[in-house]
């Protein structure tokens, strides 16, 4: 008993009859998603569509993200671009969008394939790269940098958070190939900069032999490099982050950080909107647009 | 005051016997080997100075406090009272000295708290509850709607709810710890009638009060405690007031109301046409330096409201207030204190004291500013002032840093008094200043009032004890329904005239 699929032209609330595309990311207080927003806005201008960008206050709040998408469905947006906070938890709401005929573009984090099939959900396309691959890149870099030998430390994100888990798995797998590399300590710093500082400061106390650190995001890595500086070990520890935030890039230039994994959020954003527009125009699009993943060193 | 005939042939049967009860708190031995025997159908009066241990002894019976040593026998059988619920179950009921009502529940809900009538298992029969509660309240002769929320009742009404609650227990032993301290004549009479009915039913009653005249009206036997020890038990008929006082305080008291007139000076406080809509109507009166003015009236007549309005605690809707001859706007208690007013509130627990703070911190609270230099409190001044109050008022406390919550009721009242004596006030409003204070200490407080007057202070003394009003005032105002319904000089006032005015029957209007 839901309404008929809305055609792009009849979207209400759109200024000057332009169709509205919604981009729902995990959170907007992370520069990664801000970059994605920038890219999307640029594309929206280019293609002449309205863009609504919404997100929960917290990256891990899957239920809130579901609410936001439900509300956007009520608002009858023409297309949805989503970065799922949880790859399986996103499935029910994709199904809801399907029911009213709103096309769904998934960006950056995959929606779980099996769950999607089981629920009979359908997405138009996936645009992005893989956190797991990024973790592997980081692991390979550390191995190369240390010559396959050394003690490693890891700063984890919020325990149980998918994004962090994937990066971590990739990293572990990559370093496992080198018998000389040993992860001696792995602790959570909840994605946060101040905790990155504190936790790594404490790690250095008990593991003075650590020669490389992999932090599951740049914020923790940036906190950790301050801890390294305050311990007088600047330059002696290889620090690899994730996300390639401007600050991390600057730190790499300065030499306090060694590398970070870039996922090109802005490109993801613009490609997502571009694909959505094509969908609305009835054009065919590929069901997977890979976005390069790259190690910045 | 209706005299109640003694339970003629004293039933020899002891319902409850206490032997060698001991209870120590850090710094004080509250009870030191006390014996007590209660018989069916008697009113057993418990007497003692503030802090003598009366309430503690009763709390042991009611299961609120566990004793350190001693034994309790119920019908001759030793029993260990495990807690309030157990005490109630075996028929021991109590009205506590400090109110124990739930503020946001109604009177009826409070009365049956813990014993609600049920419709089915687990469903309250609210209708039956209200009906039963209303019945008890009506029997007590008080005009309280069982549906009214307790926090909106006056102190006296709350006290009557406490009484009703105790009655609803149908206890075999009923303890009343100062039930009349907040009541006026009218309610006291009703209460005594109720006590007589209970006696006739064979209930053993323990009655604690500092109003000596009551004891002779209703008591059968009296036990006196001093410093946590049992100093004697007498048949009321075989003792005298002075003997009891001697047992209590260990010395003779010459005069119960040692009134000394002080020279009356200039106008200290004048109130003209004061109005607070629905509560106070056209109030006019004057207080002069050196004068003690009594303010009498029934419960709910608006005496407390008048005091609060003058003190800036409640806003007024009209009228003028002059302090020392100058018209003043008193917008807050702070402003009032700044103008040299002091206000001893009737409800010490909720308005008078910060129970969690120490004697010293409470005593100095209104004077903290005065005791500070450059924003730093002068501890020496504070300690000195507190030590002076403890000595002057004979506050029974292990020390100035004792938290007031642990003091006996009467001693808490003394701390409230001490608080205002510490300020440099020249006009005092005392709302029930001797509530819960023992005879010896009352005399001390009266003497203090004399001293204050002699120093040139003006005092407005609100009291529900007519003897006190009559004994201590130079002039007496009587309120009825928010108006000053009569004004008398000390010489012309009698109990009957005051009562008539309080009931709104006498003519003499205030000048």
């Amino acid at each position: 008993n839901r309404t008929e699929p809305t055609s792009a032209a009849s979207v209400a609330g759109a200024t000057a009859g332009k169709p509205t595309v919604a981009l729902v990311v995990k959170t907007l207080n992370n520069p990664f998603f801000l970059d994605m927003q920038k890219g999307a806005e640029e594309a929206a201008r280019r293609f002449g569509v309205n863009l609504v960008v919404q997100a929960a206050d917290r990256e891990i709040d899957v239920e809130r993200q579901m609410q936001i998408i439900e509300n956007l469905i009520e608002r009858k947006v023409a297309a949805l671009c989503i970065t799922p906070s949880g790859s399986r938890e996103i499935v029910p709401v994709i199904v809801k969008a399907n029911q009213v005929g709103i096309p769904v573009v998934i960006v950056d984090t995959r929606a779980d394939e099996k769950a999607l099939v089981a629920a009979g959900g359908k997405i138009a396309t996936f645009i992005g790269s893989d956190n797991y691959d990024g973790g592997k890149l980081a692991g390979a870099f550390v191995a190369e940098k240390l010559g396959g030998k050394g003690h490693l430390a890891v700063l984890e994100g919020i325990p149980g958070h998918e994004t962090g888990d994937a990066r971590l798995r990739g990293f572990r797998e990559a370093v496992a190939k080198f018998p000389g590399l040993k992860i001696v300590v792995s602790q959570p710093a909840n994605w946060e900069r101040d905790q990155g500082f504190n936790v790594f400061q404490n790690m250095l106390q008990s593991n003075p032999t650590v020669t490389a650190l992999f932090a599951c995001n740049d914020l923790m890595a940036l906190g950790a490099i301050e801890a390294i500086a305050s311990a007088g070990k600047a330059g002696k520890i290889v620090v690899v982050g994730f996300d390639a935030q401007p600050e991390a890039r600057a730190a790499i230039t300065k030499g306090t950080m060694s590398a970070t994994v870039a996922q090109f959020a802005s490109r993801m954003g613009s490609t997502a909107v571009e694909n959505a527009v094509k969908l609305l125009a009835g054009e065919k699009i590929a069901d997977f647009t890979p976005v390069a993943i790259e190690l910045i060193k | 005051m209706t005299a109640i005939p003694p339970a003629a042939p004293l039933t020899p049967r002891a319902v409850l016997t206490l032997r060698g009860i001991r209870k120590a708190y850090p710094g004080v031995v509250a009870l030191d080997g006390v014996d007590l025997e209660l018989r069916a159908g008697e009113v057993h009066v418990l007497l003692g100075e503030n802090g003598a241990g009366k309430s503690t002894l009763m709390k042991i019976i009611s299961g609120a406090v566990a004793c350190d040593a001693g034994e309790v026998l119920l019908d001759g059988v030793p029993i260990e009272i495990r807690g309030p619920r157990h005490a109630q179950a075996v028929g021991l009921g109590i009205i506590y000295q400090e109110f124990n009502l739930i503020p946001h529940l109604t009177a009826g809900e409070n009365i049956f708290l813990g014993r609600e009538p049920r419709l089915l298992a687990g469903v309250i029969d609210q209708r039956a509850l209200l009906r039963a509660a209303q019945k008890i309240l009506d029997e007590l002769g008080v005009a309280i709607d069982a549906r009214s929320v307790v926090s909106r009742l006056s102190v006296a009404q709350q006290q009557m709810v406490e009484v009703a609650k105790a009655l609803s227990l149908n206890a075999r032993v009923l303890i009343m710890d100062e039930p009349t301290s907040a009541l006026t004549e009218q309610e006291i009479r009703e209460l005594f009638a109720t006590i007589a009915r209970l006696k006739a039913r064979g209930v053993a009653l323990v009655y604690i009060s500092h109003r000596m005249e009551e004891l002779f009206a209703i008591g059968d036997r009296v036990t006196v405690l001093r410093d946590g020890r049992h100093v004697g038990t007498r048949l009321i008929g075989e003792t005298t007031m002075s003997e009891l006082v001697r047992l209590m305080v260990g010395r003779d008291l010459k005069d119960q109301f040692p009134k000394q007139a002080a020279p009356v000076g200039d106008e200290a406080l004048r109130v003209a046409g004061l109005r607070r809509n629905g509560v106070l109507h056209d109030i006019n009166f004057t207080l002069r330096r050196g004068e003690v003015v009594g303010l009498a009236g029934l419960m709910g007549s608006g005496r407390t409201e008048l005091a609060r309005a003058v003190f800036g605690a409640d806003p007024i809707d009209g009228g003028r207030i002059f302090v020392g001859g100058h018209e003043r706007q008193i917008g807050s208690p702070r402003a009032a204190i700044g103008l040299g007013l002091g206000f001893l509130t009737e409800d010490r627990k909720h308005q008078g004291l910060v129970l969690g703070l120490s004697v010293q911190e409470n005593t100095c609270l209104p004077s903290v500013g005065a005791f500070s230099r450059f924003g730093v409190m002068q501890v020496a001044h504070e300690s000195a002032a507190t030590a002076a109050r403890i000595a002057e008022l004979r506050i029974k406390t292990p020390g100035p840093h004792q938290r007031v919550v642990t003091l006996s009721g009467g001693n808490q009242q003394k701390v409230v008094l001490g608080k205002w004596l510490t300020t440099a006030a020249g006009v005092f409003i005392f709302d029930e200043p001797t509530r819960g204070i023992d005879v010896g200490a009352k005399v001390e407080i009266y003497q203090l009032i004399n001293q204050l007057a002699a120093r040139g202070a003006a005092i407005l003394m609100i009291s529900s004890e007519l003897p006190e009003i009559l004994g201590m005032s130079d002039r007496i105002l009587v309120m009825h329904a928010g108006r000053i319904a009569g004004e008398f000089t000390a010489a012309e006032a009698t109990q009957e005239k005051l009562l008539a005015a309080a009931l709104g029957r006498a003519g003499l209007h205030a000048a």
């Binding site: 936001i68 938890e89 029910p92 | 009502l101 529940l105 609210q126």
Partner: protein, 315 residues
């Protein structure tokens, strides 16, 4: 309830209700999407989980306590139910296990508070951390997903065209209101919160009832967990973070005093609806998410200001 009593109660809720209606009116004026049947049902569904948790918190808060562990209990009971479902345990059994988990954790809170004499804040803060860790350990940090239609009916089904979560919410509120106003347990919660010592001296088994109320709160958290799991078709060990704040906010907006002794579940429902409507409206309007936070904070303040203005005593 007699009309008079009812009026007195609703009088106390009046300000909040006005706040809710004002909010709805504003949204109705601003967007055509707000006042549609489907959107209102949508809001009701979105509110239901917070509303159910908030009932438990209302009980606890009326009794003078607080429970910070509800969010973690949602996670813990959720993963317990979910993992049993995945092991093909029959749905009713799995539900029962989840509910019992919540109840048991709640009772632990209660026992720590009563027999352990811990301040409720500390006991439940501790359990919040322990239960979260427990949920992570239990699942090894991974979500547990994918359930039968039978279970998912709890989120997707309808009874007389009303979505099941909304039905659950209504049933919970009706029962809770009855318990609070008509049973000794409810009465004692008010008494304990109003004056614990007086309640004790009146023979109320304070420890028992305090222990039970945390149990009830845990149980309701577990119910919310089941609803959430069915809704997301997944249970996460990191679910429910900060749910306690939302539930406390709903309770307090609804006029329940954090000091205890006063409050009503009707108010709490209004409070939860205010929060749900607000978030829905801001999404419908497409307000930027930074501005959303400002607006949400401001509206919470305004709603309660309005309420206090209505209640303000003369003096």
């Amino acid at each position: 309830m007699k009309p008079r009593e009812f009026l007195a109660h609703s009088g106390r809720q009046f300000g909040t209700l006005v706040g809710l209606f004002a909010l709805c009116a504003v949204l109705w004026a601003l967007t055509p999407h707000f006042l549609t049947v489907s959107n209102l049902l949508n809001v009701a569904q979105q509110t239901s989980i917070n509303a159910v948790i908030a009932v438990g918190l209302t009980f606890v808060i009326i009794s003078g306590g607080i429970d910070l562990s509800v969010g973690s209990l949602v996670a813990f009971s959720g993963v317990v139910t979910a993992s049993l479902l995945q092991r093909a345990v029959p749905v009713p059994l799995a539900l029962l296990a989840g509910l019992v988990t919540g109840l048991a954790c709640g009772l632990v809170n209660g026992l720590l508070i009563t027999y352990g004499r811990l301040p409720p804040f500390i006991a439940t803060l501790g359990l919040m951390s322990v239960a979260r860790g427990g949920a992570l350990l239990y699942t090894d940090g991974r979500p547990v997903s994918g359930f039968d239609e039978e279970f998912r009916w709890l989120a997707t089904g309808e009874v007389l065209r009303v979505p099941v979560p909304v039905v659950i919410m209504i049933v919970v509120y009706v029962i809770a209101h009855f318990v609070l106003r008509r049973t000794p347990f409810g009465r004692y919660l008010f008494a304990i919160g109003g004056n614990e010592e007086a309640a004790l001296l009146s023979g109320v088994r304070v420890r028992l009832h305090k222990t039970v109320v945390y149990g009830v709160c845990g149980l309701l958290s577990a119910l919310a967990a089941v609803m959430l799991t069915a809704r997301l078709n997944s249970a996460q060990p990191i679910a429910g973070i900060n749910y306690e704040l939302d539930a406390i906010a709903a309770t307090v907006i609804g006029g329940t005093s954090l000091l205890g002794g006063q409050g009503s579940v009707v108010g709490t429902l209004i409070g939860a609806l205010i929060m749900g409507v607000l978030r829905n409206g801001l999404n419908l309007l497409g307000v930027s998410s930074f501005i959303q936070q400002v607006v949400i904070g401001a509206v919470i303040i305004l709603a309660v200001l309005l309420d206090t203005a209505f209640k303000r005593p003369k003096r």
